[in-house]
């Protein structure tokens, strides 16, 4: 990268960051000040600025990022927490639906309520099932890879 | 370690050979001539020895200027340097004249090893290596199918009638190698391109200090008096067996004719 390029990149980076900050300001204005007309511009600026920051960093020379290493070292734990958090509310919702199913069936339209309970059950099963599979997959991915050569693997195949 | 390998450009043995009726010499069409496949074993052996012990491989040939192609091939395989003895007065050399010319060059190189093929694919007299060993005053280890160099000692495994033999001599020495010594490498394209840039040192008679009368047709002792084309073309004879092994006699007769029994 030439010096000019570096300067240009620096300017783009400042512009992108500024766009994000300005965007956030517009959003606050929109929601707290009730000027809803500016919300879309705020969102647009945040998106563009975010994309700009991402692209510039992506095209740049790779460098060691401490926080990335921190994230990577804890990726199993973070993954587990994320999985749990993402599934928890739906589990609560569908479990609640199942709990109140008898009561709901008592209010007439019992067929529909039963169907609702059934769907809730299926959704619950899907969520929990996916949670289990994802947790297993995250743990498995964290396991160290056994080194080997393609040729060895080939012999195995043969 | 410095190794000289003698090589020769020969007409492609897969193409029909022609002899000039006037000179009784092989017609050597440069387009259809190749590095003698028998010499590739020597080049390969030399390359492997140098890869193991370090040193230099010099290929030496005698022939017309077009024989440079054969030397380039050897250099594409990995030989470092090439010397081509070329002089119009060399035409028509027999084994003796060839040995003299090669000896003159190799003497100047002072190699640790000289490697030759057992015999050339075109003339196959097999006399040059022995003569060369004598002219250079080197011990000769012939028909090697395995070579090892340790310090100043060269050890050779060879198969002779009914036995295998291990020979040993001090360097410098001369070897002849068989086809089972090593599979010659096919030159990589990189090697081919590199060989184009390597120099070929051309030598004429004067630079070798040889008399014109000692080499070439003038220096040849062997002279072709007459040449007869033999229509010993493959007969393609067919015999049908009657089911009782009646064809065995025909087979035996054939074996006798080709002197296998």
């Amino acid at each position: 990268m030439t010096k000019d390029d570096a300067m240009l990149t620096g300017r783009y980076r400042i512009a992108s960051a500024a766009a994000v900050v300005l965007g956030i300001a517009l959003i606050l204005l929109s929601e707290l000040g009730g000027v809803h007309e500016v919300r879309v511009f705020g969102a647009g600026l945040i998106s563009l600025g975010g994309i700009g920051l991402g692209v510039l960093a992506g095209l740049d020379q790779p460098r060691r990022a401490e926080w990335l290493a921190w994230v990577r070292d804890r990726r199993v734990a973070l993954g587990m927490i994320a999985a749990l958090v993402s599934v928890a509310p739906v589990v609560v919702a569908f479990a609640a639906a199942l709990v109140v199913l008898p009561a709901a069936m008592g209010e007439g339209r019992s067929g529909m309520a039963l169907l609702g309970g059934l769907i809730a059950l299926l959704m619950l099963m899907a969520s929990v099932g996916c949670f289990v599979l994802a947790v297993r997959a995250i743990r498995r991915a964290a396991r160290p890879v056994t080194p080997g050569s393609p040729a060895e693997a080939g012999e195995e195949a043969a | 370690m410095k190794i000289c390998v003698t090589v020769k450009q020969v007409p492609d043995p897969n193409l029909p050979m022609q002899v000039d009726p006037a000179t009784h010499r092989l017609v050597r069409n440069p387009d259809q001539s190749i590095l003698d496949p028998a010499d590739e074993y020597g080049v390969e052996t030399a390359l492997r020895l140098v890869e193991e012990h370090g040193g230099e491989v010099v290929v030496v040939s005698m022939g017309p200027p077009s024989a440079a192609d054969a030397l380039r091939r050897a250099m594409a395989m990995g030989a470092d340097r090439a010397i081509l003895i070329t002089d119009e007065a060399l035409a028509g050399s027999d084994a003796r004249a060839t040995a003299r010319a090669l000896a003159a060059v190799i003497r100047g190189e002072q190699p640790d090893l000289v490697i030759c093929a057992i015999e050339a694919t075109d003339a196959y007299t097999g006399m040059v290596p022995g003569m060369l060993a004598e002219l250079l005053d080197l011990p000769q280890l012939t028909f090697a199918r395995q070579v090892a160099v340790e310090g100043q000692t060269v050890t050779v495994h060879r198969d002779i009638e009914g036995a295998t033999q291990v020979l040993r001599a001090q360097l410098p020495a001369l070897l002849t190698v068989t086809a089972s010594i090593a599979e010659p490498r096919y030159p990589s394209f990189k090697g081919v391109m590199a060989a184009k840039r390597k120099p070929i040192d051309e030598r004429d008679l004067a630079s070798l200090g040889l008399e014109a009368g000692a080499v070439g047709a003038a220096g040849a002792a062997e002279r072709v008096v007459a040449l007869e084309e033999v229509r010993e073309e493959k007969q393609g004879q067919m015999v049908t067996d009657d089911g009782t092994g009646s064809s065995v006699e025909a087979i035996v007769a054939f074996l006798e004719r080709i002197q296998v029994v």
């Binding site: 959003i27 606050l28 919300r39 975010g50 460098r63 994320a82 509310p89 040729a151 043969a158 | 096919y186």
Partner: protein, 718 residues
């Protein structure tokens, strides 16, 4: 009352603030990951893939959005599953954008609302359907991975995490809707046919509870979405971008033509010995692989237990590239991404032999079955040949058997050790002479067509029968043709596919020079390898001819009535199966002519093998494999012969001398020589021709054809 609903119901001002402010995060992650990939691809060599943009764009849409190659008859389950996920996901995404447009643009800025009335009702139904498709498709994918488990599929953690994400996102959406409707008692609820029954059930809960759970779900739903979007660029969910880009920038040149090394004498790098030696488009290729495993379905090496699996070669390169490019690690030289791949061991490995082994490279028959199957147009063969080039041209490393092929090509112009002056020896078996081009030109005449015989057709006695048969057909049809005779030489096909590009170019240039000397316009050949090289590769060096395969010509001659077939031909009787040669079928799209020619013989009943046409299974002889020993796995040719025998046919119709050689070997190999035989299309047709003399061709020429048949000690024919 006009149907509509309150957007951002139950959400305070904090909702949109967080939603829009945090939006920066997924965009940064996505843009960073994509830019990282682009940066990686740009390490490759330059190549122009920006021509014909219109055609490229349309094709990319056809193949990705419209699922051109993704849903196929042979991959219906996987294809429809993908389609369901795709349609569900995209519809939901568009739906979200529509709501955003209403809430953030049209209403606040223009004071116009469209999210109401019939549109709203249909929207509700469509979105529920989309949610079902997304969840259903994702569950089907999990079912496929965990229960059906096709042999070609390998499951990584990434695959599962993504599918779990999709299911949970869909479920969250339904939950949010059901909870909202349980409180608002939406009168148009039934249009949301999935959420509605649940809303009814949930309405038994106290409203405060419902509101609380709804808020939690709403926030978690958008946060999950953001996490998912952030994850996209670092997982195979990048594939909507890479697949589209890969199809957009795919190679538009004929698939049968390999790209030459331009200006080879001056080039400094030959083939691919490092990642950077590939072109950027090839690196994109590598990155676009979603390990669906379709390339393995008809792959001859995978099916016979050899080390080479085209998918794994691509994935290994991808993992290696990720290591070296440092997407995750942020630093070039950290091996974190290898974990995605089987043999990951960091970036210090050499491309060959550490990442891709020579055994894998030499196994490839270049049959192209992988490329024909790949839904995103990855080109495996050029990748493999690129690495072979490195091995041959730079390292001088290749299977020992190939040495003689190279030296013979160099010296004799044929992979086998036969002198050129024997090329026309087969013509002596014909009653009428076959002129050589040199004679024709010397007489100042012209011929309609040049018969390019090819090396196997010239020298191999088995394939000489095909050559003789074709010449007899041409003579019977009264076509004026000539051969090159001793001036013919190899087209360079085997050398090129083995990786000896230099030798291949020399061979091709020599051939083009000869053809141009005689001003040849039209060429017929019985060898699909010659056919492909002359048709698709000779134009690279100034050889432009009309090239037709003998099966096409024969079919045409039959159709035009220029040759007459005996409907009672003894040769053409019973069940026959036809093998599509890779270089005729897959590489050049000709599947019908040989079949039509066979159909012209009423005594034959054509039975198709399980793998036919573009899924034809290679004979094992392409890519120079004909000249190499098959040391790994089981024999490809025997696998194909068994498949042919399994059709119940007694005759295998071939249209390629390479296939012929492999099948003759294969038939012996499986010990079926008593009950099963292989004949070229030309042999079958020539043997069933009624010649102008009125005699049955098969009988008359059967004896003449069986060379060396003279019973008592007789002189050899030539």
């Amino acid at each position: 009352m006009i149907p509509t609903r309150e957007i951002l119901w139950n959400i305070t001002a904090l909702g949109p603030i967080l939603l829009y402010t945090l939006m920066a995060i997924p965009f940064v992650f996505l843009a960073y990951g994509l830019a990282r990939r682009v940066r990686m691809w740009r390490q490759g060599q330059p190549e122009n893939r920006f021509d014909q943009l219109g055609r490229r764009l349309w094709h990319a849409i056809l193949m990705t959005v419209l699922h051109g190659r993704i849903v196929r008859r042979r991959n219906r389950f996987g294809g429809l599953m993908h389609l369901a996920i795709f349609v569900g996901f995209v519809t939901l995404f568009i739906g979200t954008v529509i709501v955003m447009i209403e809430a953030d643009i049209t209403v606040p800025i223009f004071g116009v609302s469209f999210y109401r009335g019939d549109f709203y009702l249909v929207y509700k139904a469509v979105m529920n359907l989309a949610g079902l498709l997304l969840i259903g498709g994702s569950l089907a994918a999990l079912y496929r991975r965990y229960v059906r488990r096709p042999a070609t599929l390998e499951t990584t953690g990434d695959d599962v995490v993504i599918l779990a994400f999709l299911v949970v996102l869909g479920v969250q959406g339904f939950a949010v809707q059901a909870l909202r409707m349980a409180v608002t008692d939406d009168p148009w609820g039934p249009w949301s046919f999935v959420s509605y029954p649940m809303a009814l059930t949930l309405s038994a809960l106290p409203e405060s509870w419902l509101r609380a759970i709804h808020v939690a779900n709403w926030y978690i739903h958008f946060l999950t979405n953001f996490v998912f979007l952030s994850y996209v660029a670092y997982s195979k969910m990048i594939h909507p971008f890479t697949s589209f880009a890969n199809v957009l920038f795919r190679r538009l040149k004929p698939v049968g033509a390999l790209d030459p090394i331009e200006n080879i004498e001056e080039a400094e790098v030959f083939g691919a010995g490092k990642l950077e030696d590939f072109t950027w488009a090839q690196l994109l290729n590598v990155d676009a692989c979603m390990h669906c495993g379709r390339c393995l379905e008809y792959c001859p090496t995978f099916s016979t237990g050899k080390p080479l699996r085209p998918r794994d070669v691509v994935l290994e390169l991808a993992g290696y590239m990720a290591d070296r490019g440092g997407i995750f690690s942020g630093e070039l030289g950290q091996g974190e991404n290898s974990a995605r791949y089987r043999w990951g061991a960091g970036p210090d490995r050499a491309l060959i032999p550490d990442v891709v082994s020579p055994a894998e490279l030499w196994d490839c028959t270049t049959c192209g079955a992988c490329m024909a199957q790949c839904p995103v147009y990855i080109e495996h063969v050029p990748l493999i040949v690129g690495m072979r080039r490195h091995l041959v041209l730079e390292q001088g490393e290749f299977p020992e058997e190939v040495t003689s092929v190279f030296t013979n090509l160099e010296r004799l112009g044929s992979p086998y050790q036969f002198p050129p002056n024997q090329r026309a020896a087969w013509t002596k078996r014909l009653d009428q002479p076959v002129p050589e081009m040199a004679e024709v030109a010397a007489r100042g005449e012209e011929v309609e067509i040049l018969f390019w015989v090819g090396c196997l057709g010239s020298f191999d006695s088995r394939n000489q029968r095909t050559t003789v048969a074709l010449a007899r057909i041409l003579q019977a049809a009264g076509i004026k043709f000539a051969i090159l005779g001793k001036e013919e030489s190899c087209t360079g096909d085997p050398a090129r596919r083995i990786g000896n590009e230099y030798l291949a170019q020399m061979m091709a240039m020599q051939a083009v020079e000869t053809l141009n000397t005689y001003n040849v316009k039209k060429v017929v050949t019985a060898c699909p390898h010659c056919f492909n090289a002359i048709k698709n590769e000779f134009p690279q060096i100034g050889g432009n001819y009309e090239v037709i395969h003998h099966s096409q010509l024969i079919n045409q001659l039959i159709a035009e009535g220029r040759i007459t077939l005996d409907p009672n031909s003894a040769l053409a009787r019973g069940a026959v199966t036809y093998h599509d040669p890779c270089y005729l079928g897959r590489y050049n799209g000709e599947y019908d002519a040989p079949r039509e020619a066979l159909a012209a013989l009423p005594g034959l009943e054509l039975r198709e093998m399980r793998r036919n046409r573009n899924t034809s299974f290679c004979c094992g002889g392409g890519g120079g494999r004909l000249f190499m020993e098959e040391t790994r796995g089981t024999r490809i040719n025997q696998a194909r012969v068994r498949e042919a025998i399994d059709t119940g046919a007694e005759l295998l119709a071939a249209a390629c001398p390479f296939c012929m050689t492999m099948f003759e070997d294969g038939i012996h190999g499986v010990g079926a020589e008593e009950s099963f035989k292989v004949l070229d299309i030309a042999e079958i047709v020539a043997g069933s021709m009624i010649t102008p003399n009125g005699a049955d061709g098969a009988k008359e020429h059967g004896a003449a054809e069986s060379e060396g048949a003279a019973p008592e000690s007789a002189e050899r024919p030539e």
